[in-house]
């Protein structure tokens, strides 16, 4: 019996990646509300890059697209139960 605690569920060290770079998407459409849902949480807030893995370049574009979608009432500004 070892005295050193071992981690029970050692998490797989999965590398994050930018889905736009990986799949070659160059333009993020603000009209596609369903797609933008992937980048907001339940309250409609934009998810950070640290969670989605998006590169800085595309995070800016995501933010721009979400802002436009909100203006056009395709996405809500604030809500409680988006998903």
């Amino acid at each position: 019996m070892s005295l050193v605690n071992e981690r029970v569920n050692k998490p797989e060290n999965r590398q994050k990646y930018c889905r736009f770079k990986k799949s070659g998407i160059k333009y993020i459409d603000y009209k596609d509300g369903n797609f933008l849902l992937k980048f907001v949480n339940e309250q409609g807030k934009i998810l950070p890059r640290r969670l989605t893995g998006t590169s800085l370049k595309f995070q800016r574009k995501v933010a721009q697209a979400v802002a436009r979608a909100r203006h056009l009432a395709i996405l809500p500004y604030v809500t409680d139960s988006l998903k």
Partner: protein, 133 residues
Amino acid sequence: MQAKIKTIIEPMELKNYETVFILTPLLNDAQMQETVEKFRQVLKENGADIIHEENWGLRKLAYPIQKKSTGFYHLVEFKAPGTVVDALELAYRRDEKVVRFLTTALDKHAVAYNERRRNGEFKSQAKKEEVKG
């Protein structure tokens, strides 16, 4: 230097734009068509080339605007000199049937994307998502 010369020769540089506007749900079909036609005229008078038009019909809004929870969405894609945008947005502001509008300049990726969208490349995907939801 070269850029300067270009502006002299070609003062009216055309750019691609896309505009979405939301009309109040109180209109009937004829009134709606009439309003859309009016904006189409505004665009044409100012020398815009309409590339594509879409009517999304009556859609639910994500949040109420002017105490209405639905609206008629319209999308127009056009190629025009920048002066058109001011004229168009002025027309939007003067018309109280318009509850929201957004005009965006399109970069080359957006133009390519819209071309594909028009050819219905994303439709099958959208349908799949609808079925899921």
